[in-house]
């Protein structure tokens, strides 16, 4: 038990910090997406000059936003599931089932993460069609952004979800050993969820 708590506490703190950073990125990305699309409308209608990059740029942000905030949703129980069976079972057996389901999810996440890394590797070969970085000041001219930077979003999200999943697994093991154990909570949840 001491071992589990010894791992769980620092892991929980790490996840809290990472997810907090992720949420901050996500809300800024959401705001930027709105601005970019408005800019697109403005350029097309008012200036009569459609820009090439807003479409891809906004998608870039949306993918990263999803990847960085979905782990928080996962940690806070935002992934929809049918809990009927678990609720009908006696608490301990229900907890064992819960742990088994977490392990199935972990397999999906780890497998997905590995496939994601391959996908990212392939992304270095292709450049974005419209996203360019003006690096003239470095003497590099206009540099096309590699698609790998977009591809990277999903594996990063899956990695964060793996951390959350491990945390949830440890919590449910701790619960199985001692149902009254004092497990660390994510205090951010209260701050964000309360109106």
């Amino acid at each position: 038990m001491a071992v589990i708590l010894g791992v769980l506490k620092p892991l929980g703190r790490l996840v809290t910090l990472l997810l907090r950073a992720g949420r901050n990125f996500a809300w800024i990305a959401m705001g930027l997406m709105v601005l970019i699309i408005m800019l697109q409308v403005f350029f097309r209608y008012v200036l009569g000059n459609a820009l090439a990059w807003p479409d891809e740029g906004a998608r870039f942000l949306m993918l990263w936003m999803t990847a960085l905030i979905a782990p928080t949703a996962y940690r806070w129980g935002g992934f929809v599931s049918i809990d009927m069976v678990k609720d009908l079972l006696p608490p301990r057996i229900g907890a064992v089932l819960g742990l088994a389901l977490l392990l199935v999810s972990l397999v999906v996440l780890v497998y997905g993460f590995r496939l994601g890394l391959n996908h990212v590797n392939s992304g270095w070969l292709f450049a974005s069609s419209s996203l360019k970085l003006p690096l003239e000041f470095l003497g590099l001219g206009l540099v096309r952004i590699k698609l790998a930077w977009m591809y990277m979003s999903l594996p990063v999200g899956l990695f964060l979800m793996i951390l959350v999943n491990i945390e949830l697994c440890l919590k449910s093991i701790a619960y199985l050993i001692d149902p009254d154990a004092d497990l660390p909570e994510d205090h951010d949840r209260v701050i964000v969820a309360v109106e």
Binding site: A26, W27, V34, R59, A70, I82, L97, V104
Partner: protein
């Protein structure tokens, strides 16, 4: 072998695996057993490409618009407006609840947003007014399904994305069915109000009061006009319209109504981003699931099976209604559309059902399913908003469900209900 992905998926779902993981684990496991490692990589790529879409971006923006309106006190103005208009009827607050849902549906595209916004305000108010809490919760849940039927609508954006239909046509097609469902729910309330002697507002609002309430609700109620007008007039794409709606909601809340400050912005954006992320991951997973559906020849098998039952489109539509209703009980509308749309859509278009009409049949069926147990997302949210148990609400919702089923049949068998507006505006032939 691969055909078993569907039973396996349902098994995972029933024992409580989150839908997102179930949609990947079931086909992934079978592909792995078959030694089709390459197709598992395809599965992953489809999750990614499924999410990487410009039309889908309308979902986060409409979520954001809804969140902004809610935070900005716009919900309250809509409720006050409905109260001034029909609060004096017997069962006033129940009618107000339904009317507010219909109006709110023009601002938001999700039933869950509708429940959490209106429920937290109207359920306590109804209780104080002498209604039973379970009845208040049931009215809220039943009427919230109008949210994704009257445009804007998250699930219709998903439908249009998967099936290549026009978002504008689907949005227009949803208006009349949404109003029809709203009115039929009001009829139930009217009937119950007489029988159970429901309370009404103490007096009818005077004309100046009505004017005042309308004025206060004017800017919020302009939103659907801007969204639909913009899309229909060819001014913006649906995605742009959704961004405009978000900005408009922001301006209304921050500068016109002054009900929100800059400091509230991060929280609102965070909430919208979080809800979106869950939906987008589900869409990605469902797109991946869909590839396995086609690899497995399930569509052909299912088409043969369905066409073997009968050749009469009416009988088949009736059976599909039942199937979709049952599916809606277990699966969220978005994933259900992505998985079943490509299988069922072509079968029925070949039989002569208009694609836009079929889109509405599917969307209405599946959204009504959102308020039925065991997997009714709307029921869960209503339960947490009201503090009433899911089972209790599920029982109290039955009379409403009954008329909703009648409305579904009307929508299914009278195509003009859905097709009149899109044809009028030239978005469907």
């Amino acid at each position: 072998m691969l055909f078993f992905f569907l039973p396996l998926f349902l098994f995972f779902l029933m024992i409580g695996l989150p839908v997102f993981f179930g949609m990947l684990a079931a086909p992934g496991f079978l592909l792995w057993l078959n030694g089709q490692e390459r197709d598992i990589a395809l599965l992953y790529r489809n999750v990614y490409t499924g999410m990487d879409s410009f039309p889908l971006m309308a979902i986060p923006f409409f979520m954001l618009a809804g969140e902004l309106m809610n935070r900005g006190g716009i919900t309250m103005r809509i409720v006050e407006f409905s109260q001034a208009m029909i609060g004096h009827l017997k069962g006033g607050l129940a009618h107000v609840n339904i009317m507010s849902s219909m109006l709110f549906a023009g601002l938001s595209g999700s039933a869950v947003a509708d429940v959490s916004a209106l429920g937290s305000m109207l359920i306590p108010a109804m209780e104080k007014n002498g209604y039973k809490r379970r009845f208040a919760a049931a009215v809220t849940a039943a009427s919230s399904v109008i949210g994704p039927i009257i445009p804007p609508s998250g699930i219709m954006i998903i439908y249009a994305y998967v099936m290549g239909e026009s978002v504008a046509a689907l949005f227009l097609a949803g208006i009349v069915p949404g109003i029809l469902i709203g009115i039929s729910l009001m009829l139930v309330v009217g009937f119950l109000a007489k029988r159970n002697d429901f309370p009404a507002a103490s007096r009818r609002a005077t004309w100046p009061e009505k004017g005042q309430a309308s004025l206060k609700a004017f800017f919020p109620l302009l939103t659907p006009v801007i969204i639909l007008g913009g899309i229909l007039g060819g001014v913006f794409t649906p995605t742009e319209a959704s961004a405009v709606a978000a900005v408009y909601a922001f301006i209304v809340a921050l500068f016109i109504l002054k009900t929100m400050g800059w400091a509230d912005l991060p929280k609102v954006l965070t909430k919208a981003a979080m809800t979106t992320s869950v939906v987008l991951l589900l869409v990605g997973a469902a797109m991946a699931f869909k590839t396995v559906v086609s690899l497995s020849h399930a569509p052909e098998i299912m088409a043969n099976f369905i066409l073997g039952l009968s050749e009469n489109p009416y009988i088949l539509l009736f059976l599909i209604n039942i199937l979709l209703f049952v599916v809606g009980m277990f699966l969220d509308a978005g994933p259900a559309i992505i998985i079943l749309g490509p299988i069922l859509g072509p079968i029925f278009t070949d039989l002569g059902v208009h694609p836009v009409h079929f889109a509405i049949i599917m969307s209405v069926n599946l959204t009504v399913g959102l308020a039925t147990p065991p997997m009714g997302l709307v029921l869960f949210v209503t339960s947490s908003v009201s503090g009433e148990r899911v089972e209790t609400i599920a029982k109290a919702i039955l009379p409403f469900l009954a008329v909703q089923i009648v409305a579904i049949f009307l929508i299914t068998f009278v195509p003009q209900i859905s097709l009149y507006l899109p044809q009028l505006f030239g978005f469907a032939n």
